[in-house]
Symmetry: C2
Subunit: 306 residues, 2 copies
Amino acid sequence: MEELLDQISPFIHRTPILSSGLINKMAGCEIHFKCENFQKMGAFKMRGALSAIKNLNESERKKGVVTHSSGNFAQALSLAAKSLNVPAYIVMPDTAPEVKKAAVRSYGGIITECPSTLKDREYQAEKIVKEKGANLIHPSNDLDVILGQGTAAMELLQDLPDLDHVVCPVGGGGLIAGSSLAVKFFGNQCTCIGGEPLQADDAWKSLQSGKIENNETANTIADGLKTQLGDINFPIIQENVSEIIRVTESEIITSMKLIWERMKIIVEPSSAVALAAVLKKPENFKNKKVGIIISGGNVDLSNLPF
Amino acid sequence: MEELLDQISPFIHRTPILSSGLINKMAGCEIHFKCENFQKMGAFKMRGALSAIKNLNESERKKGVVTHSSGNFAQALSLAAKSLNVPAYIVMPDTAPEVKKAAVRSYGGIITECPSTLKDREYQAEKIVKEKGANLIHPSNDLDVILGQGTAAMELLQDLPDLDHVVCPVGGGGLIAGSSLAVKFFGNQCTCIGGEPLQADDAWKSLQSGKIENNETANTIADGLKTQLGDINFPIIQENVSEIIRVTESEIITSMKLIWERMKIIVEPSSAVALAAVLKKPENFKNKKVGIIISGGNVDLSNLPF
């Protein structure tokens, strides 16, 4: 993982670690926020995308990479591929907002539109794999992506080796799986804890039942966390994540507003889930040194919850 | 000024200097943002308040400080006074929003309410000076305050000694006067430039006419810049500021949104005025190295212009 960080670090920012005296007072612990909202393209996903491409050999790279996503990963893979001079094919639902398509294009991604069902998207991506020989990269259920995402927690632990807990949001499982590996390899009696919306608590349910559970609905403001765990990240999470704390929508919004108002930084709702988890169970974190991964800062300013 | 910075630095943050590749590309120059939105209480005003109190002798400090303000300076003086164990009397109009009064109280300021006319506020402040022997501190027309505000530009030039221009917003004149002195003492062929709302362009008009002009109206979203120059800061500005660039309301809002979206930081409208000025006259800044003072990040999230 250290070698991986060396490989990707020329293409990413070493993001700052910030804190707030007032939030520490409210939480009763010492919180250090790893600000991936300041990462290139505004989210940690650049790390995993770069990691996956770096792992390809020269001839694989020439054929390019493909993913189906309408969110941050489409942009991250496009920009990572551009940084490494690799073609990126992005399958997007034809219903995706024009602004997201424009962002992908601005990073050099080659868009193929298709109907918005998962089946159509998978079919279209497979077609590009066959026709171009491109390498399919899953946004979260891919070991190289997982290791790449873990480099944020790794940097946090390099700077603060005595953290007691690292807390991050749980969506598709790539970030928390990677963070939990970073905690295992680089932490010192440190545990990895997840924050998850109660409205999309598939990971919490999966840890309870011991098998991957689905969200029946996923009606949460934390739109980055609606995705489901996969068969590669779930066993890693099972083994290395000590707890998942679920939070309500109003707890997410309150934490988001707290970060905006007190820290003067823009974070997306998904990022606020981790702070909401710490504030929800203050007894678990009392007087501890806690690292929180702020996952990103891509929000629609014309559609804020406050 | 270096000694002053040493004196106040235990009580302030050394704020980070950030930049954005995309904004540089748009502006055609290299911009370095000095982020006083991350300063204590969210604005540069802590610097001037501390500087003014530091300049008092022991017996003066015991009697406390007094100001009349409904804005950031009321909070800054309260917090600075608390940090230095000095009583702070704050005269506020009885129409001031409860949230601002609560903020002053939370920093330990002792509030006296009065009718909202300038005359009433000045009378009330004078009364406290007489009764308590407290020292009246003007938010911007006070040499110690001016020198304190200048320490932000001074830090910027310590880190980036080869800046060609330092650009900051112009309101009451304290920040720009102090910044222009910092540029004079610590810059290397550097000029100090002001950004001012066209809707409150008293400083631009004053430089044209050679005497302090008033705003007849001040209908700008940059509410921190509605105040007027004073007889102490005006001569400093006249001598040391090379240009004031005026910007429209929509240019301010566009620049504010650009900073929020691209840099993921929360800045108040007044702060965006400086970037708007650079974007307005790209030919003046082409390929130059430009420092911008981001004055603060105190905004009402429930009342945004986008």
